[in-house]
């Protein structure tokens, strides 16, 4: 199953541990070198789909500094799906890289 670019970085942002919504936006932007800038609507759309498909688990809602937040954690299936997607991207990149290198030599 192919994962959208923004969803890929949402999953990747959760690799280091649970994060809340705004932290996911920041981490995804950081990991993608600023290329993926998630808006709140896009983030929650992606999170809803990921929670529904069991790749991410939503925690309980909590109030920190007067702001409502909820932590999201990558599940075992989420780890698997992310690893599979990374492998697919690596293979796809390899096809181009080997041919480009062969053409250059």
């Amino acid at each position: 199953m192919e994962i959208r670019r923004s969803t890929y970085f949402v999953l990747a942002a959760l690799l280091d541990g649970p994060l809340h919504g705004y932290a996911i936006i920041g981490r995804a932007s950081e990991l993608s070198g600023g290329e993926v800038r998630l808006s709140t609507g896009t983030l929650f759309g992606a999170l809803d789909r990921l929670v529904e498909s069991g790749l991410v688990e939503a925690g309980e809602e909590e109030k920190v500094d007067g702001r409502v937040r909820r932590s999201y954690t990558l599940t075992q299936d989420g780890h698997g799906a992310l690893a599979a997607e990374a492998s697919r991207l690596r293979r796809a990149a390899l096809v181009v890289e080997t041919r480009t290198a062969r053409a250059a030599t």
Partner: protein
């Protein structure tokens, strides 16, 4: 900024909003970081996501939800017919010197006929009370009131059409438009029957009382939309528009498919039958135009949503 984002988050379905609204707005506020431009962008993204969420929720609705929606729409349209009829009693059209629609004018003094036609009699008052009570019953989720009012509404409409005889009360909408008008004569029997059936079958639930003034406003808007000069001619076009919208979205939303089937059967179909019958009787009815315009709409309005619903039940 919180207010703007709060308003944008209202595009999400109510149950989703109840669970996630605080989290959504606070995350968007942090992401906007005090910038007015970014707040605008975040608000737009919330609106888009909210509408997408609504579309997803719509896909999960049942046929029973569709019957409830159909009951609500027919009740509103029924109320608008009653209000438009009473409105014509208050603001009577002028009596023309010559009358051209000779095919149904009775053989008596035309001025008396017009005065009788626009008289605010017990029938209109009873029709309006029954129509309004049905809307109130549906909003309150009170089956006894909704069904009782819908049955009373059906009896009132049927009484006019069978017992009182021509000119029918609804003929006041035909005064200037003649054969083009809608609803006239027996046109309203099928919607009244549909209202009674759906009020009996729909799984009712109590809505917020703010729906009562909203329902009144919606009926008034429909009156304004449907109103031609001193008549109610264009009601068929708002109804056709509802059927077209229901058809367009009925593919993924079962309750809109039910709405398309119900309105096609109750409203569009009688127009088609009426135009064909008038043509058979040799009356000057623009049946060809109507039949050509409505036949595909009726066929699609009934067959496509039915196919959609059947596929849904089988899978």
């Amino acid at each position: 900024m919180r207010r703007v984002l709060g308003l944008a988050s209202r595009t999400f379905p109510r149950d989703y909003r109840a669970r996630r609204s605080g989290e959504l707005v606070d995350t968007a506020l942090l992401a906007a970081d005090g910038s007015a431009w970014r707040t605008g962008g975040e608000a737009l993204s919330l609106v888009t996501a909210g509408l997408r969420q609504r579309a997803r929720a719509e896909r999960g609705r049942s046929v029973a939800d569709g019957i409830r929606l159909l009951a609500g729409v027919v009740a509103l349209v029924n109320l608008s017919v009653a209000l438009a009829g009473i409105g014509l009693s208050i603001e009577r059209p002028p009596v023309p010197r010559t009358y051209t629609h000779a095919n149904w004018v009775p053989p008596r003094d035309f001025r008396i006929f017009v005065a009788e036609l626009y008289n605010l009699d017990w029938w209109w008052i009873a029709f309006a009370i029954a129509a309004a009570s049905c809307v109130v019953g549906l909003v309150l989720g009170n089956r006894r009131l909704a069904l009782g009012a819908a049955l009373a509404n059906l009896v009132i409409v049927a009484y006019d059409e069978w017992r009182l005889g021509a000119p029918f009360h609804l003929d006041r909408f035909a005064y200037l438009q003649g054969r083009w008008a809608y609803p006239t004569a027996r046109d309203w029997l099928a919607p009244a029957l549909l209202l009674a059936v759906t009020a009996a079958a729909a799984p009712l639930r109590r809505l917020s009382l703010t729906w009562l003034p909203l329902a009144l406003v919606a009926s008034m808007v429909l009156v304004a939309l449907a109103r031609e000069r001193y008549a109610f001619f264009y009601l068929r076009w708002p109804l056709a528009a509802i059927v077209v919208v229901a058809l367009a979205f009925g593919w993924f939303a079962p309750r809109l498919a039910v709405l398309a089937v119900g309105l096609s059967l109750a409203v569009v179909w009688p127009i088609l039958v009426d135009s064909t019958l008038m043509s058979l009787w040799g009356l000057q009815h623009p049946n060809l135009v109507i039949a050509c315009a409505l036949a595909p709409l009726v066929s699609l309005g009934i067959s496509l949503p039915l196919a959609r619903l059947t596929r849904r039940r089988l899978t």
